[in-house]
Amino acid sequence: MELLNAFIVLANFVLVPAIAYGSQLALGALGVTLVYGVLRFSNFAHGDTMAFGTMVVILLTWWMQSIGISIAPLPTALLALPLGIAVTAALLIATDRTVYKFYRTQKSPPVIFLIVSLGVMFVMNGLVRFIIGVDDQRFSDGERFIISAREFKKMTGLSEGLAIKTTQGITVITAIVVVAVLFWFLNKTRTGKSMRAFSDNEDLALLSGINPERVVFYTWLIVAALATIAGTLYGLDKSFKPFVYFQLLLPIFAAAIVGGLGSPLGAIAGGFIIAFSEVMITYAWKKVFGYILPEALAPDGLVQLLATEYKFAVSFVILVIVLLFKPTGLFKGKAL
């Protein structure tokens, strides 16, 4: 019984949140990795793309709520998602036409692209702040819990409760669906195959008649979808604040690099590695040890390795370790 209780505490405070957070990071990292694989640069505007997409979804959600559309018990934001993706995709493709395309035809080095993406980041950040402001926005509605701690306790008779928020459930299910569709697209469809070919060897792909502009177009489309979904899920789960989305850039990049930049599978693995380390290292283990260990050995302190304020340090340290020992990432991304 004690062990079961310990496991429930662990699941409630570590496993469930980390799985949800990991799914969000994985979707974000997939976007970064795709841009890297096809367009060959690190897109610093990705965090703000996520913020922009989420903002569009929030505005649509508010509008739907005001005219009484809802899909309760699910959050209305899910209904707004497709339209949000469309708007974000339009923005990204317009950005590509007006900004990135010029440097592509010039064959600029990746580092120039990176700096250009900093400019794009500024503009998107400014847009988001201009339209919706810098404050916290909550936009999740519908049922709050799939199972609440109290129900769980009543059901099982255990002294510890396990709560699963609706948003966490939706996050994981959506992430699985999105990843499945993405891999099906990349591996089975003609466009997906041409994208992979283009990412693998640009010259060879061009020789075999792949239209690069089409590949780029589809890449931005997918990146818009991934960014909007990741951002909306994160916003539903926690809350929407533009600056937090900018800060997500670090764990997302860490996830993509740990997995191997350019490798979609790696991005997913990286997302979960980063999320689990972040949650486990900043979690206070006192309660779990209290159940597992005999009374005499039970810890006095919180048994928290690092204060939550330092969660960025976790992704950073993992990043540094990977850079030192395995610079191509776990899944052999693009070479150095």
Binding site: V116, L118, F122, R129, A254, L324
Partner: protein
């Protein structure tokens, strides 16, 4: 137009803009722009050293600037004896143990031959070290932070003259840059960018949360100044008399005088750094750096140690940013960790370097002044434009209210568009590299 006249004209333009601010708005505002412009120019000089001359991408300028700010607290604040009695030495001892742990882990990894053993050894050293470290430092920190938390609650500084903190800020930033450069240099350029982004976030988190060191978000206020206080000047009959000689009110005269003194100090630092940078740029060392930037492989083939040179210039550039950071905190007389925002302290500096002209020291200085001026003035200009745009709308229209409220956010948009337009149509900047 020759290169020199163009440079001269552009700097004259900046001077006109600042003097214009003085005439139209107020001389205090103009001097504020001048002072921060000088600091911004030093920061962009540092970034230019890294990006313009060596082609290194540093996206963590904010962290180095904040370290400079921390240096002012450590160097110049009065020590808090009660806090030192409560646990100062224990904290130092704990930090020593922490350092030994990391050193021991590295040694274990290097010394143990067996591949599995070395990893296990390293982890064992780290775990044991961390447990001892926390056991020592945690109670000590608690004790220190409990000492008079409303006004102190930290160890204080060394009580040394504030000007000393400028070089110390540079040294701290250089040390951090060395660590980060050691790990990320030599890998692909994006990795350095991401690593610096990470280290800057962590440095800010440390300064925000380690109250015993910097008072954290409670802010270290009342940092000593290298110049006299306005109130003392106003009470000094000789000063009041001289101010009256210029036909100035003593209050205004004292604020202007203090700002001018700061401007003088900052200008000295800027001139020294520019002189050094110009010498470096035109020396064999500078030529070598540019050769490495333009063709790393060729430089390597010529026997140049590319990674070592990169580390060198990365450390130097970061040190310059640290000096500027210490100067800025000196000007503010307080360390407010919450005010360090990456868009303001990292990416704005990038706009300065790119717009001014990367690879050209004068260019980056020009960029520093010009972009800082715009950053300050975009808001009133934007507000004015918005007033005109929204004038036809109804007085109580929600859209009008929202637009007027959001004007403050126009800055980022403007800076982003500035950067993109510059990169597209004039990528070499206003004063291009020769």
């Amino acid at each position: 137009m020759t290169e020199t006249t163009k440079t001269f004209a552009l700097f004259a333009l900046v001077a006109v803009l600042i003097i214009g601010t003085g005439v139209i708005q107020s001389w205090n505002a103009a001097l504020f722009i001048l002072n921060m412009g000088l600091i911004s120019a030093i920061m962009s000089l540092g970034v230019n050293l890294q990006w313009g001359i060596a082609g290194l991408l540093n996206v963590g300028i904010m962290g180095f600037v904040a370290l400079g700010g921390l240096a002012t607290v450590i160097v110049s604040m009065e020590p808090v004896p009660d806090a030192w009695d409560a646990g100062g030495l224990r904290i130092l001892f704990g930090l020593g143990i922490g350092g030994l742990t990391i050193g021991g882990a590295i040694a274990a990894y290097k010394k143990i031959g067996n591949p599995r053993g070395r990893v296990l050894g390293m982890i064992a050293v780290l775990v044991v070290g961390m447990v001892i470290y926390r056991a020592i430092i945690m109670p000590a920190i608690k004790a220190v932070e409990a000492v008079n938390p409303a006004t102190e609650g930290y160890l204080g500084g060394l009580g040394l003259p504030i000007l000393l903190s400028w070089p110390v800020g540079g040294l701290l930033a250089a040390a951090a840059a060395w660590v980060i450069g050691k790990t990320a240099l030599g890998l692909r350029s994006d990795y350095l960018a991401i690593a610096t982004l990470g280290i800057s976030e962590i440095l800010i988190a440390v300064i925000k949360n380690e109250d015993w060191l910097s008072r954290g978000v409670k802010n270290a206020i009342g940092i000593p100044r290298p110049v006299p206080y306005e109130i003392d000047l106003q009470n000094d009959p000789a000063f009041v008399e001289r101010a009256a000689g210029f036909g100035l009110d003593p209050t205004i005269a004292s604020t202007l005088y203090v700002k001018l003194l700061y401007a003088g100090l900052f200008a000295i630092v800027l001139v020294v750094l520019v002189w050094l940078s110009q010498r470096a740029l035109n020396s064999p060392w500078g030529r070598m750096m540019r050769a490495i930037r333009d063709n790393e492989t060729a430089a390597r083939a010529m026997g140049k140690n590319v990674t070592a040179r990169h580390l060198q210039v990365f450390v130097l550039g970061s040190a310059v940013c640290g000096i500027a950071g210490a100067m800025m905190t000196t000007l503010d007389s307080q360390l407010t960790p919450a005010s360090y925002q990456p868009l303001r302290f990292t990416f704005l500096i990038w706009v300065m370097v790119i717009v001014g002209g990367s690879g050209n020291n004068l260019g980056s200085i020009l960029g520093g002044f010009l972009i800082w001026f715009l950053w300050v003035q975009v808001e009133p200009i934007g507000f004015w434009v918005m007033e005109i745009v929204t004038a036809p709308m109804a007085e109580d229209s929600a859209i009008r209210a929202h637009l007027l409220d959001s004007v403050a956010q126009m800055r980022l948009l403007t800076m982003g568009i500035f950067l993109l337009v510059m990169l597209r149509f004039n990528p070499r900047g206003l004063i291009p590299e020769k």
